[in-house]
């Protein structure tokens, strides 16, 4: 090859790769450290190739260890002086580490640390290419730290291993790699709906916060005592110990479709919200109980007007109890638990609903009796 042919080939190589790099720059605005280094080398080579055709003489010196002239000088300038830096993008820190704090927690505003077993690990994979980060050990029962380079972006998916009985509440959820903290929810009752999600009550009543706190304590007390309603020796009921009340700390501001999605995504047994209405004869709390597909023949939501008075306390408590037991029966049915378990929940719900006065009580009794028939409960034992 003659000298002029070499020059043309080098120039063509340079032009082609400069074009390729322009395309790559548009396609990968946030390259990984490895991509950036590769692009820089090729760009430097391409620039050197183009420089072959540029007349004049150029000398370049880096400290005392590099001296270059002509095309080689252009290569050295492009490679060592990082022209991409001139755009303002902080690419020189591309390989510097950055940390993402991961805090696993139970669902709800309380963000309780679930105390995972010591064997638990988090596996993280990039959504884009399926590449995996090294597995992370869990410290302090629920925390881990992922070290990434500052320029790391994209989405990641998580998986928990060795954490039984805990699982991720939303195993398909994705997390941004360019943030500094992730807070995935975990549950020890996967695929079960055992959480009573309590949205803050609103309204103009004088003692709204105290009434709300009382409702919350009633619900918690009921949730905690559900296991005790059934034989302690029958361990099929042990999962009831996981029924819990989760305050969200927010008011409910969702459409019916969004509430259903929320119910599905959060392992909810019931979603509760309420409005306090001031009336001349005393404040009334209007509670709405959403049970999603577990509502069966009950209206969705089940609305109960509960007067805030000591004489109505029992009714208030009973409505929540009966609704919770009814939802538990439907939930047990949906998971195809044994027939006698479903009937035992409905039987207890029947006991309680039977003594609730008013339309809500009637609606509950009708729904419970319909469910008992569907569950195959005997209607008349011969004695």
């Amino acid at each position: 090859m003659s000298k002029s042919q070499e020059k043309i080939a080098a120039f063509a190589f340079g032009v082609v790769f400069v074009i390729v790099l322009i395309v790559l720059a548009i396609s990968f605005p946030n390259p990984t450290p490895f991509q950036y280094t590769t692009f820089r080398i090729i760009l430097a080579l391409a620039a050197g190739g183009v420089a072959v055709m540029i007349p004049g003489f150029l000398n370049f010196k880096v400290a005392t260890w590099l001296r270059a002239g002509g095309a080689l000088a252009v290569f050295a300038i492009v490679y060592f002086k990082s022209p991409a830096q001139l755009t303002g993008v902080n690419v020189s820190d591309a390989s510097a580490p950055r940390q993402i704090s991961i805090a696993l927690h139970r669902p709800g505003a309380d963000a309780e640390c679930p105390r995972l077993p010591a064997s638990a690990q988090i596996k993280i994979t990039r959504v884009q290419d399926g590449s995996a980060f090294p597995p992370l050990n869990i410290v302090a029962g629920c925390k881990a730290t992922l070290a990434v380079s500052a320029s790391t972006t994209g989405l990641a998916k998580l998986a928990l291993t060795g954490a039984s009985p805990y699982e991720l509440l939303k195993p398909d959820a994705t997390y941004q790699l360019d943030t500094t903290s992730w807070e995935p929810s975990v549950t020890d009752t996967p695929r079960m709906h055992l959480l009573v999600t309590l949205f803050s009550y609103t309204g103009q009543c004088e003692n709204l916060q105290r009434v709300f706190d009382t409702f919350q304590t009633i619900l918690r007390s009921k949730a905690q005592s559900l296991r005790s309603l059934f034989a302690t020796t029958d361990h099929r009921y042990d999962y009831l110990s996981s029924v819990n009340v989760i305050p969200t700390g927010q008011t409910l501001n969702m459409s019916p479709a969004e509430i259903r999605t929320y119910w599905q995504d959060n392992g909810a047994l019931e979603i509760l919200s309420g409005l306090c209405i001031g009336r001349p004869d005393g404040d009334v709390m209007r509670s709405s109980i959403f049970s999603g597909p577990l509502s069966g023949s009950l209206p969705e939501p089940l609305v109960a007007d509960l007067k805030i008075s000591e004489t109505e306390f029992a009714t208030t408590r009973d409505i929540y109890t009966a609704a919770m037991l009814y939802a538990l029966a439907r939930e047990a049915q949906s998971r195809e638990l044994e027939q006698d378990i479903v009937i035992s929940y409905l039987s207890r719900a029947h006991d309680v609903a039977f003594q609730i006065k008013g339309d809500t009580g009637k609606a509950l009794v009708v729904a419970i009796e319909a469910s008992l028939t569907i569950a195959g409960a005997p209607t008349n034992l011969s004695q």
Binding site: D213, S221, E310, T311, F313, A314, D340, R348, Q355, Q383
Partner: protein, 366 residues
């Protein structure tokens, strides 16, 4: 026993001991101890209300205790204790821990709960734990038994061990001056005004009247305490708790009195009424009566209960065990029992040990 006399700072006990002398306070299996735990404050500021509630219930239950009329009951004693130093239990698990910590008089029964400010008043939620004790043979598991001709024995016992009652609205006029039982005045007579100080941490009843009780203190001093408003304001919580103590002391007629009050109390929850009917059936069966009417009432209230089904079967088994009827009658009972087990199948688990045994006895296939 010694710890009881250490005073209110350690462990306080209120005792009805109508048969044995005070000196016989060591653990005795024939002693039924019920402890009224300090009631928790449902909301901040209710601590004193919780304590007062506990005192009222304690004394009201104490008033229900009596000497059983049955020979087996006469050898038993009933004890009510209180402990205001412990942390109030708020769950059945905590109630169990509370009971296990009462080393002097470990109670078989614990009444606990919490008091709330709600609306313009105070309401009280009460819960009762009937502890099983020995797992292999739970306490009170054979209140009704039948030994059949082939030697097979069936029994039923306490229908439910963890009971929650309907909330009580606390009336402020009940004993406003009293914060704990030790503060009761000791009167020289049942009617006069002359007093001899206070009863203190430990006292036993010699005689229970409607509004007063004759008591004796550890130093031998005798006198009267007056509880007029308590006896008129007795809730189903007290009647039910007192009824359980009477059942466990084989006081069948006494238990019948109290459980009938619960069953006819409009305020009592359905589940508590159902339990009361079952206890009435136990009392009837053990005193030579017919339990069937009580079982029918329980069934009418809740036709979907496995426990009621067990009791219905038990009634048939008891009659089979009596062997007084002719062969035809026995066969009819077997058929009825078989039908009950078949129809009630959706109510019990295929592995339920009680029904597995019964099906084996009846030679029924799954």
């Amino acid at each position: 026993m010694t710890r009881m006399f250490l005073g209110r700072f350690k462990f306080l006990s209120l005792l009805l001991l109508l048969f044995n002398p005070i000196a016989a306070f060591a653990f005795d299996p024939r002693q039924v101890v019920i402890s009224v735990a300090p009631f928790a404050a449902g909301t901040v500021g209710n601590e004193e209300v919780g304590k007062r509630t506990s005192t009222i219930l304690n004394l009201q239950i104490w008033q229900t205790l009596r000497i059983p009329t049955t020979p087996e009951g006469r050898n038993t004693k009933g004890v009510v204790t209180w402990d205001f130093d412990s942390r109030p239990p708020t769950t059945f698990l905590e109630a169990e821990r509370y009971a296990a910590a009462q080393t002097d008089q470990e109670p078989a029964i614990v009444l606990w709960g919490r008091a709330w400010h709600y609306g313009s008043g105070v309401i009280v939620e009460s819960f009762l734990s009937i502890r099983p004790g020995d797992v292999s043979k739970p306490y009170g598991s054979d209140l009704l038994s039948a030994k059949l001709s082939d030697g097979t024995t069936f029994s039923v016992g306490i229908p439910r061990r963890q009971i929650d009652f309907e909330p009580i609205i606390l009336k402020s006029e009940i004993m406003p001056e009293l914060s704990e039982p030790a503060g009761l005045k000791l009167y020289k007579s049942s009617k006069g005004d002359e007093t001899e100080g206070f009863v203190g941490d430990y006292f036993k009843a010699l005689e229970q009247g409607p509004d007063s009780a004759k008591v004796v203190l550890p130093n031998g001093t005798q006198g009267w305490i007056r509880l007029p408003s308590l006896s008129r304001e007795r809730s189903e919580v007290v009647d039910f708790s007192g009824g359980i103590v009477r059942i466990l002391r084989s006081d069948w007629s006494g238990a019948t009195q109290l459980f009938q009050r619960v069953a006819t109390n409009a305020h009592a929850p359905t589940a508590v009424k159902v339990d009361s009917y079952l206890y009435l059936a136990i009392a009837a069966a053990n005193s030579g009566g017919d339990p069937a009417p009580w079982l029918r009432k329980a069934y009418d209230l809740n036709p979907y209960s496995k426990t009621i089904l067990e009791y219905l079967c038990m009634d048939q088994l008891r009659q089979l065990a009596q062997r007084t009827s002719d062969k035809q009658d026995q066969e009819a009972r077997i058929r009825a029992l078989t039908e009950l087990v078949r129809q009630g199948k959706p109510l019990y688990s295929a592995n339920d040990p009680w029904f597995v045994s019964l099906k084996k006895y009846l030679q029924l296939a799954d």
